[in-house]
């Protein structure tokens, strides 16, 4: 295992290129449409989970309300393209910006909250957004939703098959990964991580934690909005039921399983969870029990997630606990 890790570490750019080429080429080998749809889901949820991972895994703000931002993105796209006939690409950007603004608005009153308290607020915010979408009938169509959302075109080329959408999702995922990678490996990313690790120390080093947290939240929400926008044109019909809390937990479970605080974790999480969804389809709703069991098992045996380094935040909690148990007496003596 460590050998594999060393090899991957050494030839990182080569591996990445190989993975990208594989991702581009393999859907061309005549898969059934339903299969390609699964691939689309995997990529879509990768970006969603990845963007949640930016807030949860990198700055340690445990948000559970990602479905809300996703919802905003989808509705912005649906409303602007059906009512005002604005073309897809500028609206896509607006979907992202709309979600980012919502993220900013939610992040301001929650700046002082941490952990479970922040989770509950974001959970509530997500539900509030969904309920607004359900009840504001004049704008969102209420429980009937919005249908006949037009397909996007690109210089006369129409995205009208799952395969074409696969490449759209892939493109967005790659851009997301690239931008996030660059952010994480910069002063901005370091300040996010310093907040996750120790906010008091971060402040003592001059990190302005409030704006950093807000930007982080908005950035995560932005990508959720982008994916929401693409989702709307992909399925061509949206209603508020899609963006329930279950969806939020679904995204959350992917980053728990894949590994928080790593860029690669959400890919693995997305593959595992979406793969399981298909495999367990025969047992119907019982599959949710399986997810729950899987999450509990993961939290117990590998809290950092499948791809997580031992220095990710969740693994950290466990290591800390063990350390405290061992050296508890000594620590007391020092202080």
């Amino acid at each position: 295992m460590s050998k594999i890790k060393a090899f991957v570490g050494k030839h990182r750019s080569l591996m990445l290129t190989a993975a990208l080429v594989f991702a581009i080429v393999f859907p061309l080998f005549g898969f059934k449409k339903s299969m390609v749809r699964i691939f689309c889901r995997i990529l879509m949820y990768f970006t969603l989970a990845g963007s949640l991972n930016i807030t949860n895994g990198y700055s340690g703000q445990t948000s559970l309300g990602h479905a809300g931002f996703y919802c905003i993105g989808a509705y912005v796209m649906a409303i602007l393209t059906t009512r005002f006939q604005i073309s897809f690409w500028p609206v896509l950007l607006l979907s992202g910006i709309g979600a980012a603004v919502a993220g900013l608005i939610i992040s301001v009153p929650t700046l002082r909250l941490k952990g479970i308290y922040l989770s509950i607020i974001t959970l509530g915010a997500s539900e509030v957004i969904r309920i607004i979408a359900l009840n504001w009938e004049g704008v969102t169509g209420g429980s009937f939703g919005i249908k006949d959302i037009p397909r996007p075109t690109f210089f006369g080329f129409t995205f009208d098959s799952p395969l074409k959408f696969y490449y759209l999702f892939l493109g967005v995922a790659v851009i997301f990964l690239l931008i996030s990678y660059r952010l994480i490996h910069s002063r901005v990313g370091r300040s996010w991580m310093s907040i996750r690790e120790n906010e008091l120390a971060a402040k003592s080093l001059g990190v302005r934690t409030a704006p950093a947290k807000m930007m982080n939240f908005a950035y995560g929400a932005f990508w959720a909005g982008i994916i929401g926008g693409i989702y709307a044109v992909y399925v061509q019909y949206i209603d508020s039921a899609v963006f329930s809390l279950d969806e939020g937990f679904n995204i959350m479970s992917m980053i728990i399983i894949g590994g928080q605080g790593t860029l690669i974790g959400p890919i693995v999480g997305s593959i595992v969870v979406n793969g399981l969804t298909e495999l367990l389809r025969p047992i119907g709703v019982w599959r949710f029990v399986m997810y729950a069991a899987l999450i509990i098992v993961m939290m117990w045996f590998r809290p950092q997630g499948l791809m997580g380094e031992s220095n990710s935040i969740l693994a950290g909690a466990k290591i800390k606990m063990r350390k405290a148990g061992k050296t508890g007496g000594k620590k007391e003596a020092i202080s």
Binding site: R187, R190, N198, A201, G206, T209
Partner: protein, 265 residues
């Protein structure tokens, strides 16, 4: 009215508890200033008031003749106050180098745009952070730990990393809260030499310490707190000779004297 860091009648009350009561202090540039006192004397509270974690109940704190009493912790850091904590507050699950790089946060100004498009600012900042961090680590003798996770280091080394991290932000004054706590004699001596060396280069240092030997050897001026009040200030010799300080630390000898006096009568 000068001095780098100055407090005027600073009080910090928690309800009825007077943790810090009417303390005046003046730290001159280039000084090593020590604050000592028995447990619970209010040293750390006083530190927290100076660095903005607590707001003073009464009184003012000036840094470079600027009133910082009601400023946020980050704003005070930006003015050039660097500090460490009594219990180490490292970014435990990041490498030592990354820890120190975050110390360079104030010296750099990459924003999200710069980071995404790898602009000139980004490249200059990354280079600066890398060089500055490595230099700081070298000076602190921590080079070999650069890629170790901070949480895996021994306690003494962790304290040193915390100092290095603070130094990376090029503070005008370095405030150390019990830097030698939990260190063995060898490590303490090395730390003292390190601090003296820093001071020789012009770094102003303000420190809290329990270890008397350390303080007496290290500091130019010492302030003694007891029950939140300043009882004495001066050179190490003056402070160690002061009656009130001895009383605070070792208890009163008057009882013994009274007995002797009674016996004579």
């Amino acid at each position: 009215m000068s001095g780098l860091l100055r407090t005027e009648g600073v009080c910090c009350y928690f309800g009825g508890l007077k943790a810090v009561d009417n303390v005046d202090m003046q730290v001159e540039p280039g000084d090593i200033f020590g604050i000592i006192g028995p447990n619970g004397a209010g040293k750390t509270t006083f530190f927290n008031v100076c660095s903005g974690i607590y707001k003073p109940t009464h009184g003012k704190v000036y840094f470079c003749d600027q009133d910082i009493s009601n400023m946020s912790q980050e704003a005070i850091s930006h003015l050039g106050v660097g500090r460490t904590f009594q219990t180490t507050q490292l970014f435990q699950f990041m490498s030592v180098l990354e820890n120190v790089k975050i110390g360079c946060h104030m010296g750099t100004k990459t924003n999200m745009f710069d980071a995404i498009f790898h602009t000139k600012t980004y490249r200059a900042d990354e280079q600066y952070a890398e060089e500055k961090s490595m230099e700081t680590l070298r000076n602190a003798g921590l080079e070999q730990y650069a890629n170790t996770l901070a949480g895996n280091l021994s306690y003494g080394i962790q304290r040193r990393v915390e100092i290095a991290r603070s130094l990376a932000s090029s503070p005008k004054i370095l405030m150390l809260d019990e830097p030698a706590a939990g260190m063995n004699r060898l490590e303490t001596d090395a730390l003292r030499d390190f601090l003296k060396e820093l001071n020789a280069k012009g770094q102003t240092i303000l420190l809290i310490e329990h270890d008397m030997k350390f303080v007496m050897n290290c500091c130019n001026r010492i302030m003694v707190l007891n029950f939140g009040e300043k009882i004495c200030e001066g050179s190490p010799e003056f402070v160690s000779g002061n009656k009130e300080v001895q009383t605070a630390y070792f208890g009163s000898r008057t009882f013994g004297k009274d007995v002797e006096a009674n016996a004579e009568n």
